[in-house]
Subunit: 112 residues, 2 copies
C-alpha cells in the first residue's frame, strides 16, 4: 500500500542503495567481490588504493545497503557480494513502467 505519492522515490532502502552505489570506490570494491568472491578486509584494502579504515567504512555502508554480507571468523572479516541486494534498483526502474521496461530487452545484447 502506498502511503504517499512520492514514497517510491523517497523509500529509505532505495535511497541507501543508490547512495551506496554512487561512489566509485565502493563500486570497485563491490565488483571485486563479484569477480573474485569472498574477500577479507586486507585483500580489499590492497586492491582498492585507499586506507584500511576507509575500506571498513565503505563495506559498512555497502552492508547497510544490503549489497554485501559480512562473516567474521576470528580476527578476519570476510565480505561477499549479496546478489539480491540490487533488486530494489531493478524495482525502481520497473516502477517507471513500460517506458523504461521496453529498454530492459536491451539487456540481452549487453550481456557479455
Amino acid at each position: 500500500m502506498m502511503t504517499d505519492s512520492r514514497s517510491a522515490d523517497r523509500d529509505a532502502a532505495t535511497d541507501a542503495l543508490f547512495k551506496a552505489l554512487s561512489d566509485g570506490t565502493r563500486r570497485a570494491l563491490l565488483e571485486t567481490l563479484v569477480r573474485e568472491g569472498e574477500q577479507n578486509v586486507q585483500a580489499l584494502t590492497q586492491q582498492s588504493g585507499v586506507s584500511q579504515p576507509m575500506v571498513s567504512r565503505h563495506m559498512a555502508k555497502l552492508k547497510r545497503a544490503g549489497l554485501v554480507t559480512a562473516r567474521r571468523t576470528g580476527r578476519e572479516t570476510w565480505y561477499a557480494a549479496r546478489v539480491k541486494g540490487l533488486a530494489p534498483v531493478i524495482g525502481w526502474m520497473a516502477v517507471h513502467g513500460a517506458l523504461w521496461s521496453q529498454r530492459f530487452s536491451a539487456l540481452e545484447g549487453l550481456g557479455k
Copy 2:
C-alpha cells in the same frame, strides 16, 4: 578498449549517473517527467516541494548525467526524461556478468 582494470567503476559518466540517481528529490523529479512527460521548471517546482533554484540545479545535474534533455522556448525551459540515459546503469549491472544477469529475468515479474 579497457585502459585500466578499475576503469569500469571509475568511469566519469557512470559516476555522474549514479550520483544523479542518489538523491530522492532528483529521482522524484525524474519520475514526474517519465509519468507526465515534458515539463517546465514552474510545474516541476510546484510538485517537488523545493524551491525553484533548487529545481534548476537538480535538473542541471540530471542533464549532465544524461537523464534528461532541455529545450528552451522563450523564457521557459522544458525538460524531458531521456530514456537512453539509464543504459549505463544497465551496462554496469551487466558488467558483473552472469551472476547479476540471471536476476534480470526477474524484471518481467516486477514490471507493473
